[in-house]
């Protein structure tokens, strides 16, 4: 039998400690049920799953009674640590977070050199975790235009294991900046359909938003057709200048996001994040879907929580479909990374 680890303690070193039996049971599901008048059976409305308790039988072998008692002491000391990783499987090193809550055993005639201890563990989270995390990385992608200012990106993620897990989803802003200047003034009250600009450092696309000017007086205009890097004229939807913008006035692409929607379509959950969103290329938002450690969305690892509503998604053990929908003032490029730890029922 392979190692059975509780923290750093091997309960099955095959020298002093021998695991006699170990459980593979799942935790009982407790359905919420109600009787419907006059029909057979029960109506289920939901279910709950509570903590896991399991017992591992370990034989302790000594060379003498004194040695046996010493080894029991060593074992008890190791088992007295809280919140340790308990790994009992042979195939892999998946683990539970466990506390040992009881050790049963005795010494008696006939048990001079060895005895079997019944060790009871409690795992407040009932599922086992993989020993390593997995990632799915989309790389930098231009999002697909949907409608209005909505852009989407779809990605399937397979969770592995035998039960759902809670991912951390990091969404990077990868839309590069596009900063240039006017080469022809735009006069207050006059309607225009183009901007004459210094050579564009990068291409702009139809639907991109350009902001003319800086500070208190600015005007947003919408690009009406694609323009390549180096272009000096940008077609925009007709606008009437709200002020006079002289030659040299700044023109910047506005790729700010106003909402990120994370739709996990396999289960039907939707999460909407509406503040503290990535602004410039390289910004990212971490969406921590673990209710115990997260249910948070944070920009660039900061402490401020983004405003959200909806449900944080899980990854199912089989292929799980995600669609990111971002409301953005320009065609966004993003990178999304799912980091997760596969989970097992036992």
């Amino acid at each position: 039998m392979a190692a059975v680890m509780f923290g750093a303690m091997n309960l099955n070193d095959n020298i002093n400690y021998f695991v006699v039996s170990k459980p593979i049971s799942t935790v009982a599901v407790a359905p919420a049920m109600y009787k419907i008048s006059r029909i057979a059976g029960m109506k289920k409305t939901g279910e709950t799953i509570n903590e896991r308790q399991m017992t591992v039988d370990v034989r302790v072998l000594g060379t003498s009674r004194a040695d046996l008692e010493n080894k029991i002491d060593v074992l008890q000391q190791a088992l007295n640590l809280r919140n340790q990783k308990l790994s009992i499987r042979t195939n892999d090193s998946r683990y539970f977070y466990a506390d040992c809550i009881k050790i049963d055993g005795d010494l008696a005639p006939g048990k001079i050199l060895s005895t079997v201890l019944k060790i009871t563990f409690i795992c407040y989270q009932p599922y086992a975790y993989a020993n390593s995390t997995s990632t799915v990385d989309t790389g930098t992608l231009a999002m697909t235009f949907s409608s209005g200012q909505l852009y989407t990106l779809s990605q399937n993620v397979t969770g592995g294991g035998s039960v759902y897990n809670y991912p951390i989803i990091r969404v990077y802003q990868r839309t590069v900046a596009c900063a240039t200047t006017l080469t022809a003034a735009r006069n207050s009250g006059t309607a225009y359909t183009t901007l004459a600009v210094a050579a564009l450092p990068v291409a702009v696309q139809a639907r991109d938003t350009l902001i003319i000017g800086t500070g208190g007086t600015t005007q947003s205009v919408i690009v009406s057709s694609n323009a390549s890097a180096g272009a000096t004229t940008v077609s925009v939807t007709s606008f009437t200048a709200n002020a006079t913008y002289a030659i040299g006035a700044a023109v910047n692409r506005d790729a700010s996001m106003t909402q990120i929607q994370v739709a996990q379509t396999t289960d039907g959950s939707n999460l909407y994040i509406t503040s503290n969103l990535p602004v410039v290329a390289g910004d990212y938002i971490d969406i921590n879907c673990d209710p115990l450690l997260g249910w948070t969305a944070k920009l660039n690892g900061g402490a401020t929580l983004s405003v959200w509503n909806g449900l944080f998604p899980v990854i199912e053990p089989t292929s799980t479909a995600f669609t990111l929908t971002i409301t953005c003032n320009s065609n966004p490029s993003v990178q999304a990374v799912w980091t997760y730890t596969s989970s097992w029922l036992s």
């Binding site: 919420a32 109600y34 009787k35 419907i36 008048s37 006059r38 029909i39 109506k43 289920k44 409305t45 939901g46 279910e47 759902y164 396999t266 289960d267 039907g268 959950s269 939707n270 909407y272 503040s275 209710p291 115990l292 249910w295 948070t296 929580l305 405003v307 959200w308 509503n309 909806g310 449900l311 899980v314 199912e316």
Partner: protein
């Protein structure tokens, strides 16, 4: 098609509890909040508060004002419960909201530590707000000067309390879609040193039968009359757990003697009110009075109720109140309590999130025989021919199961609701009694 997973929102319902500060800024979520349960909604009354126990150390429960804390647990913070699942908006259904009114950290004898918070719904404005100066609506004894009762109710949602300079019902607003435009009844009324509960109960009594107001979770208030057609049909054997019916005559009153204002005498010794009503006896003013008599006096004998409201100064309003009260009291109370499991999670049950107090329900028993069938008896029944289930009949020989009844109370339990159906409004009546107990001069029911 369900995917079989326990997170499948096409099958299961779940919740999210969000916390905002008192000005509406998002703070965080309550990850450890139990499922929403244990509150009661009623027609023409406020929603009950809920007490939520969060498993947190009693000295470190994210209390407001402590450095490093987000401060989710702070007096006045707003808690919103959103539900997600089949048939619910993807952005969530706001099912309950209120503000933290009590914070009770505790460590009990078992070593368990928790903080209990009491979340008070915003319908608490009923008890917390009121008018401290005279508010008159209409002109007494002048039909042309009367005001629609509905407009009287809406007044409190549109007018500012001079003490706070806030709208009386803030943050509650009228449900513009669900609220009627007119009640069809006009009257005069005056309010002074009354809280909104008292004001609304008085106005509700002035409305015709089966009008109600309801506090909605999104902080709106619906004022309307119950639909005469069933908005929900519940089938025994499919939707309901344990229907319980009760026909109750104990509170029936068929004579209502309603007494109002006692006029004073002017310098000439005549009472200020003199409309031909007997307001003076032996030169002394006596209160104005209206007696409403119901038809059941002939069959049941007199069951009299004396009511008094000295704020009523005109006979028309007094008559409206008396007739309205009689209409409410002079009837058998048909009360039903039923538990309805949510249809989410498995087959059977009903969409409990579609229920709102004030909605109307019809219970259908598919097992009952068709009308005009003969009743059978044990000693004469023929197997496979006789009917085993019969319609429950009221004294008026109408079929109980086929009646349209109004939801007057609803206890919410996340997976189910216990709803109280009635042709009357027992909660209203209880509050009505309380109201009149405060203002009456002598006998009450």
């Amino acid at each position: 098609m369900p995917n079989g997973y326990t997170n499948d929102l096409s099958v299961y319902k779940t919740q999210q509890v969000l916390v905002y500060d008192s000005t509406g800024n998002f703070i965080d979520t309550l990850r450890d909040a139990p499922l929403l349960t244990g509150f009661k909604e009623v027609t023409s009354g406020g929603t009950s508060p809920i007490r939520v126990q969060l498993p947190r150390p009693m000295d470190n429960f994210d209390q407001d004002g402590v450095s490093g804390n987000l401060g989710t647990i702070g007096q006045g913070n707003i808690i919103k419960y959103y539900l997600y699942g089949p048939g619910l908006p993807t952005t969530g259904l706001l099912r309950y909201q209120g503000y933290i009114d009590t914070i009770e950290p505790e460590m009990n004898e078992h070593g368990e530590e928790f903080v209990a918070i009491t979340i008070m719904p915003f319908s608490s404005v009923l008890g917390d707000r009121g008018c401290s100066s005279l508010v008159q609506m209409g002109i007494p004894d002048t039909a042309e000067g009367y005001v629609d009762i509905l407009d009287m109710m809406k007044f409190w949602f549109n007018s500012k309390d001079p003490i706070t300079n806030q709208v009386y019902t803030y943050p509650l607003v009228i449900d513009a879609i669900g609220t009627a435009t007119t009640s069809g009844v006009e009257a005069y009324s005056a309010f002074y040193n009354q809280n909104l509960d008292s004001v609304f109960q008085t106005l509700t009594l002035l409305l015709p039968s089966n009008w109600f107001y309801r506090f909605n979770p999104e902080n709106t208030v619906t004022i309307n009359v119950a639909s005469t057609t069933a908005q929900h049909t519940l089938v025994i054997g499919q939707h309901i757990t344990n229907p319980q019916y009760r026909l109750d005559y104990t509170n029936l009153k068929n004579v209502v003697v309603y007494t109002g204002y006692t006029p004073s005498t002017d310098a000439t010794g005549l009472s200020e009110l003199n409309q031909g009503d007997p307001v003076e006896i032996g030169g002394q003013p006596v209160p104005i009075q209206y007696i409403a008599i119901g038809g059941s006096v002939l069959t049941m004998g007199e069951r009299i109720a004396y009511l008094n409201n000295s704020r009523i100064t005109d006979m028309d309003t007094l008559q409206t109140l008396a007739e309205g009260t009689l209409a409410q009291l002079n009837r058998v109370a048909i009360r039903a309590k039923i538990r309805v499991p949510d249809y989410r999670g498995g087959n059977g049950g009903y969409d409990i999130e579609s229920f709102r107090v004030g909605d109307t329900i019809q219970i259908v028993n598919p097992d009952i025989p068709m009308s005009n069938k003969q009743f059978y008896h044990w000693d004469t029944d023929v197997w496979d021919t006789a009917y085993w289930d019969y319609k429950i009949l009221t004294s008026a020989s109408s079929v109980l199961f086929e009646q349209v009844l109004m939801i007057v109370g609803m206890d919410y339990g996340f997976d189910y609701v216990d709803i109280e159906l009635d042709t009357l409004q027992p909660n209203l009546i209880q509050r009505f009694y309380n109201l009149y107990a405060r203002v009456q001069d002598y006998t009450t029911i």
